[in-house]
């Protein structure tokens, strides 16, 4: 059976060129870049080259790039490091209800330590109201953290406008750009962000490496204390192969960004149009305005059926997608993003994300559209909720699936 991978927002294969570039750093050039001898010198240049590649990709300078181990570490570092350094100034963070757990759980942990957090709501399409944001700002606000694009819905947030608000009030601005980079243009100057996080494995570099952009002059307490690596910003021997891979992946993603956008968007639109046409009783999750969504992401709920069983059925055809169902979330609750959008609870359990990638081809989309309608129908025929006139739970109940 042919595999059809439509879960690029979860992770992506390493690009062949990237793997090629990484290989020498495991054995021939295995040195520690902190060493003064040949083994260290052999790799120092590669480390700095990767830093330049990442910097160029997001319009930063190399000295503003710190390599970390993953997107989650970057988000933790951005938030805890900022709050630690800005303690004297204030203790209030503004973020949103739809952030990745790496941001949300970090904020919740900080609340336990006495920090104040405002979680901005979103509307039913998952969009923010920037007036809410401005109103939430107080004298104590030291950090605004809003993701560039949402991993579940693909919604793209108005980062430039938020950056302008943050500047206006002189508040530090962090954005989790893990899902945005490579898919839409990302420019830290235009967006006026102070901290921006990327993760290697979402853009063709390996798992276990990421980077954080730290605008010059942005004081941070370290998340990892120890050695002097990364200009004292992040201790730990650098993951040379991963870093070299991330550098090249950024360079390639930058060069291909426009062609990627058009190619993958055409495929996603074809899938979206097909699903809407072929499957009744569905709900699109996220903004209907496709220009405001990542070009590769489609999130749709299939009424009356549960997400995991749909995924497993698709999996039997080799189709890999993901779900907001509690059964796949690792927690006991369905997706907090669906909750924040006040998606009715059974629909939240059935929310299904298809996320396309650079290796996706039209025949794969055709296959999904061939298989999906009957699969959904088969599960509906098995469902006690289908065709029984039962009304769905109202939005009161749906509150229970919100985490915040």
């Amino acid at each position: 059976m042919k595999h059809i991978y439509l879960d690029y927002n979860a992770t992506s294969p390493v690009r062949p060129e990237v793997l090629e570039a990484m290989l020498p750093f495991y054995r021939e050039q295995f040195g520690n870049p902190s060493s003064v001898h040949w083994a260290g010198r052999q790799v120092g240049g590669a480390l700095e080259k990767a830093r330049e590649q990442v910097a160029a990709f997001i319009n930063a300078s190399p000295a503003e790039i710190v390599f970390v181990s993953c997107g989650s570490e970057g988000d933790n570092m951005a938030i805890k490091g900022s709050l630690g350094a800005l303690k004297e100034k204030g203790n209030h963070i503004i973020t949103t209800t739809v952030e990745h757990p790496a941001v949300l759980e970090t904020c919740q942990a900080l609340e336990k330590e006495g920090f104040d957090v405002t979680y901005l709501p979103v509307d039913k399409d998952g969009q923010l109201n920037l007036d809410d944001m401005e109103k939430a700002i107080t004298e104590k606000t030291v950090l605004i953290s809003v993701m560039w694009a949402n991993n579940e819905t693909g919604n793209i947030y108005p980062i430039e406008e938020i950056g302008a608000i943050a500047r206006k009030y002189n508040i530090r601005f962090h954005t989790d750009a893990v899902q945005a980079v490579g898919k839409v243009p990302v420019d830290v100057q235009k967006a006026k962000v102070d901290l921006l996080v990327i993760s290697g494995h979402k853009l063709g570099a390996p798992k276990g490496v990421g980077a954080i952009y730290v605008r010059r002059g942005t004081r941070m307490t370290p998340l990892l204390h120890g050695g002097h690596q990364e200009r004292n910003r992040r201790a730990g021997t650098q993951n040379m192969a991963g870093i070299v891979g991330l550098g090249l992946a950024c360079e390639m993603a930058g060069a291909e960004q426009e062609s990627y956008y058009h190619r993958v968007r055409a495929l996603r639109d074809k899938l979206e149009d097909g699903v809407v046409a072929l499957v009744p009783d569905i709900k699109l999750n996220g903004t209907p305005n496709r220009d405001q969504r990542l070009p590769n992401t489609l999130n749709v709920s299939f009424a009356y059926i549960e997400g995991e069983s749909l995924l497993l059925n698709l999996d039997m055809y080799g189709i890999a997608a993901s779900s907001g169902s509690a059964c796949t979330s690792g927690s006991l609750e369905p997706s907090h993003v669906m909750g924040a959008m006040c998606v009715e609870v059974t629909l939240a359990h059935s929310s299904t994300r298809f996320s396309l990638g650079p290796e996706t081809v039209p025949a794969e989309i055709d296959k999904v559209l061939e298989v999906l309608p009957a699969t959904v129908q088969r599960l509906r025929d098995m469902s006690p909720l289908y065709n029984c006139g039962r009304t769905s739970d109202n939005c009161e109940t749906c509150q229970t699936i919100k985490r915040i």
Binding site: Y304, I305, E306, G307, E308, S309, L312, N313, M316, S325, A326, C327, L332, P334, V345, T346, H349, D381, M382, S383, P384, L385, S392, D393, T397, T400, I401
Partner: protein, 122 residues
Amino acid sequence: MYTDKVMDHFTNPRNVGEIEDANGVGEVGNASCGDIMKIFLKVEDNIIKDVKFKTFGCGAAIATSSMVTEMAIGKTIEEALELSNQAVAEALDGLPAQKMHCSNLAADALHEAIKNYREQNG
């Protein structure tokens, strides 16, 4: 994640559907947990002659529903009341730990259906 037996019952669930003239119906679970199981019984002479299910839920929910119908058919209602969620999970060669709690409710649904049968047929 799932055993072969679970996947077998999930992909080819036995006894899916409703019984028009059921004389016992039970339902457990709720939508916020993501699992609802509904069991339909046809009891004659204290024996479960037919049993069908409808389930909204994950792979484990569907597989346990299917398995419990197979295990119940032909049993007396007293025997069927002995059937535990644990026994269903074991018959499927086990379930992932995180599924034991939420999605392993099929025996409960069966017991609810029997209760309903008894209420109706006092």
